[in-house]
């Protein structure tokens, strides 16, 4: 660059060029003498002050700026003149045209080799920066106001565990002052599973629901949203921004909702139960009617049956020994009466709706007696065997009805074995047999009636307990339904196991009721 030539002559000749260069510099540059009058001003400075350079020389700030500004500038100037160090000032300057600029002013005292003292100053226009700063401040104020008023907890946490900011909402949630909050270990703020640290939970951008803790107690259910670690430009370490939405009430709402859902379910279940009960009641009503009807029919039929039997009996007595050869006919009359009476009994068993009347009994004794009585009525060809396994167990049962149960099962077995007098194919060695077994099992008492008859087909096995279903040429189809009903009235049931050709096993079971109080 030629202006920085090495010869003094060239340096002198370059002063004009230097001044022109200074005019091109965007920074305002001025020089004042010891009396604070301008001795130099470049173009940029002239623009700030609002005057041309030649009109400015010999004048001071007081000639251009408002009085208070000029006074402040000149006071600053004097302090610089008294100081060996350059100084910086942030100044607000209003030029003659009324425009205002913020300027960062650097001023220094210069003493020439000739002993003259000057003040050299530069101004950097920071008006733009200043307004940006103001904007930032306004923005920050707005954000702060937002942070302080939103119904969301906000927590700015540094990696080192120090809290940079916590908003009032979060403080209110945990009932702490800012100072108390600052002293709290961040790890104690959230209910976190023991295998995870706080950092694991919020260190990555995440969203989860957990309990918010304060002094070891759950204070709220919170939806937590974390920004994850943020690298803070220009600031050492990382920080995380965590927000908390109080979802306790939402959780409550969820609980209420769950409850309503559960109640709805219960309601629909109850409605179904009600329907079933209604149906049951209709059925019970029908059964009660049927019971009444059956009782009436039983009474009305048994009277003439009794008359028939007694008359036949009288007849038998009257002709006894007279060789009239009608004994067989009289016997048939009596068999017919017995059969009719059995049908009436089955109808009564099935239709009876009165509650069972329990009495305490030694069950094996009772069973042995019933089997003995029934065995006497069976055709002689049928072998009957009874294995008692209850060992003196006393339980409360309705002995009348339960006897009907067994009588039904035993007579059924007998009928399948020798029903019409023909014996199952198997030859002369075949012995029709019935085995009755009592035992105590997990569910109570089991009494099995087992025959070695023809068995029941799978198809019929499905239907044998249906009312009115019968495979007999002469039967009501009410025997097994009545048996099942009596067992159900005792809290038990009837199970049938059979395969064609392998006999059948009818198991009556019912729970043990050992006292009458228990039965009531």
């Amino acid at each position: 660059m030629s202006i920085f030539g090495k010869t003094p002559a060239s340096r002198i000749s370059d002063i004009d060029a230097l001044l022109q260069i200074l005019d091109l510099v965007p920074t305002s540059i001025f020089v004042k003498d010891a009396e604070l009058n301008f001795v130099f001003s470049n173009e940029a400075h002239c623009k700030i002050i609002g005057s041309e350079a030649d009109k400015l020389l010999g004048l001071s700030d007081a000639d251009f700026y408002p009085q208070d500004q000029a006074k402040r500038f000149m006071e600053a100037d004097r302090s610089v003149l008294n100081s060996p160090e350059p100084k910086e000032f942030m100044e607000l300057a209003t030029s003659t045209d009324g425009s205002t600029v913020y300027s960062l002013t650097r001023k220094a005292r210069v003493i020439t080799s000739g002993g003259a003292t000057y003040l050299v100053g530069t101004n950097t226009n920071v008006t733009g920066m200043k307004s940006y700063e103001a904007e930032l401040e306004a923005k920050e104020a707005r954000y702060r106001a937002l942070a302080e008023t939103v119904p969301v907890g906000i927590w700015h946490l540094h990696e080192d565990g120090n809290t940079a900011y916590v908003n009032p909402f979060l403080l209110a949630l945990v009932s702490m002052t800012e100072a108390e909050f600052a002293e709290t270990d961040p790890n104690d703020m959230l209910a976190i599973s023991p295998d995870k640290g706080m950092a694991d939970m919020i260190g990555t951008a995440s969203r989860f629901e957990t309990d918010l803790m304060s002094r070891g107690k759950v204070v709220a259910r919170a939806m937590v949203v974390s920004s994850g670690w943020l690298d803070n430009a220009g600031v050492a370490g990382r920080s995380v921004m965590v927000t908390f939405v109080d979802v306790t009430k939402i959780s409550d709402l969820q609980t209420v909702n769950d409850q309503v859902t559960r109640l709805n379910l219960e309601l629909s279940e109850n409605i179904m139960k009600l329907k079933a009960t209604q149906e049951e009641m209709v059925k019970a009503g029908r059964m009660a009617q049927l019971g009444q009807l059956t009782a009436t029919v039983a009474h009305e039929l048994r009277n003439p049956l009794a008359a028939v039997r007694t008359s036949a009996f009288v007849l038998d007595r009257k002709i006894k020994g007279k060789g009239m050869g009608v004994e067989q006919q009289l016997q048939r009359i009596d068999s017919g009466v017995v059969r009719c009476d059995n049908i009436i009994s089955q109808l009564l068993d099935f239709a009876r709706t009165r509650p069972v009347q329990r009495k305490l009994l030694d069950l094996d004794n009772w069973l042995a007696k019933v089997v003995e009585e029934e065995a006497a009525k069976l055709p002689a060809v049928v072998s009957i065997e009874c294995t008692l396994g209850l060992g003196g167990l006393v339980a409360a049962i309705d002995a009348d009805r339960m006897s009907r149960c067994l009588i039904n099962l035993i007579s059924n077995a007998s009928e399948v074995l020798v029903g019409k007098g023909d014996v199952r194919s198997g030859g002369a060695e075949f012995v029709p047999s019935i085995v009755i077994r009592s035992s105590r099992t997990g569910r109570g008492i089991e009494i099995s009636v087992i025959d070695n008859g023809p068995g029941i087909s799978a198809e019929n096995l499905l239907r044998v307990k249906e009312p009115l279903f019968t495979t007999k040429s002469f039967g009501t189809g009410l025997g097994l339904p009545a048996v099942e009903k009596i067992l159900e009235q005792h809290g038990g049931g009837l199970e049938i196991a059979s395969k064609p050709g392998e006999g059948a096993c009818f198991t009556a079971w019912f729970p043990i009721i050992e006292t009458l109080e228990e039965a009531a």
Binding site: A306, V314, R317
Partner: protein
């Protein structure tokens, strides 16, 4: 046959009452038949029967109530009941009131004759 008994048969069903009476007569007993409870009470007032066979369910006064009334006049009256179906409550009342027992209809007649034999 050892001794003749005086027996009252009570049943509103005449065929039943009559056929039983006939059977008992065949066995040489002295049998009176009545068809209502009130008649039975009146009959017991007149005669101390050795044995009675009473139906339970009848129009008007039932057999059990009639029996209980008779027991007030004849505290040692011996009566068996006959019933077409188990009228549990009435039968219980009868047994508590001193009845000897009951027969289901149609009756087991050899057993009827047995109890008569025992009463002799």
């Amino acid at each position: 046959m050892a001794r003749t008994l005086s027996i009252l048969v009570l049943d509103d069903n005449a065929e039943n009452a009559d056929s039983l009476a006939e059977l008992l007569s065949l066995e040489e007993h002295k049998v009176q038949v009545v068809y209502s409870g009130q008649e039975a009470i009146d009959a017991y007032h007149a005669t101390p029967f050795d044995l009675g066979f009473f139906d339970v369910m009848m129009p008007g006064k039932n057999g059990v109530d009639s029996f209980l009334e008779i027991r007030q006049v004849r505290p040692d009256a011996k009566v068996y009941f006959m019933t077409g179906y188990s009228a549990d409550d009435l039968l219980k009342k009868a047994m508590e009131g001193g009845a000897l027992g009951f027969f289901g209809k149609p009756m087991d007649l050899p057993l009827v004759l047995d109890v008569c034999q025992q009463a002799v």
